[in-house]
């Protein structure tokens, strides 16, 4: 059981996560890793409002999530861990060395980013960070919803995923 999905998505908790992945994976808890959200009661209330009452949401800083990851992984239920950007996920991987697979679920347009997929736009330093994760053995792939084919990092960066 434990955490079934480690996802980078700048929308954090939203429909694709709660319903699109939540239903087929039978997710019953979400770990939202974001230093800003972890320090804001208002932000936490906002995200909590978006999930059904039977789903637990844990709000952690990167450091807290790193300390608690082993506990989350021993949870008998299924969960998802979300970060809003690549840097946060990379920091968590650095601190734990215990994440073997990362899902790119939504990294949208921003100045300096180049479109790689319909839902993945990357700046050069972000591409470098993803390549660094892959070189360390982390399986990085893009997949917005479970019904879509997962695209390996090489397909994403080469633009093959758009064909």
């Amino acid at each position: 059981m434990a955490i079934e999905l480690f996802r980078i998505d700048d929308r954090l908790i939203h429909g694709q996560v709660v319903v699109g992945w939540g239903q087929p994976l039978d997710l019953t808890f979400i770990v939202l890793v974001d230093d800003e959200v972890a320090s804001s009661e208002w932000e936490q209330e906002l995200y909590r409002m978006g999930v059904p009452p039977e789903m637990d949401v844990h709000f952690d800083t990167v450091e807290d999530a790193a300390q608690k990851l082993a506990v989350y992984q021993r949870d008998a239920r299924r969960g998802a861990l979300l970060t809003g950007d690549i840097d946060t996920m990379a920091r968590l991987i650095d601190l734990t060395g215990a994440i073997s697979r990362v899902n790119l679920g939504g990294i949208h347009h921003r100045a300096g980013r180049t479109q790689r997929l319909r839902y993945v736009f990357l700046a050069p330093e972000e591409e470098k960070a993803l390549r660094a994760l892959a070189s360390r053995g982390v399986d990085v792939s893009a997949q917005d919803v479970p019904a879509a084919r997962p695209l390996a990092l090489n397909e994403v960066l080469s633009g093959e995923g758009n064909r």
Binding site: R11, I13, H14, G15, V18, V19, M49, G50
Partner: protein
């Protein structure tokens, strides 16, 4: 129909073609689809959705936002907008019955019409048939 009857009174926002689709249904049934402006969150970041929503709300002095899903990024954006504009009303879980009721209540403030419409939408959900055989 007076000018007030056809003015945009609310924003409908959601996933994919939800907003355009449900407003087209309102137009087909009532001819009053122009009471709404629509927004899709397709391929947009949370910040983009919030920006687009803020632009529509400010440009048209919109007081009511209808969204499709409580967990959706449109709902999140509307909640963020409400922090700056507490007078804005959000209705999430919108269905066709909700919007049909809303367009016919032009004699009350939009916020009041939204409350009434939400009740109608909730009451419109009906399950018929399907009893297991032998019961």
């Amino acid at each position: 129909m007076s000018e007030a009857d056809v003015a945009v009174r609310a924003l409908v926002a959601g996933h994919g073609d939800f907003a355009v689709g449900i407003v087209s249904a309102v137009a087909q049934i009532t001819g009053r689809g122009d009471a709404f402006v629509t927004l899709s969150n397709r391929d947009m970041s949370a910040a983009d959705v919030e920006r687009a929503m803020r632009n529509e709300v400010d440009a048209r002095a919109i007081e009511v936002i209808f969204t499709d899903l409580p967990a959706g990024s449109c709902t999140m954006a509307a909640r963020r907008l409400q922090r700056e504009r507490p007078g804005v009303v959000l209705v999430t879980g919108t269905n066709l019955a909700t919007l049909l009721d809303f367009v016919f209540h032009t004699d009350v403030p939009a916020s009041e019409a939204a409350q009434h419409a939400a009740e109608k939408g909730r009451a419109a959900l009906v399950v018929a048939g399907g009893a297991p055989s032998g019961h």
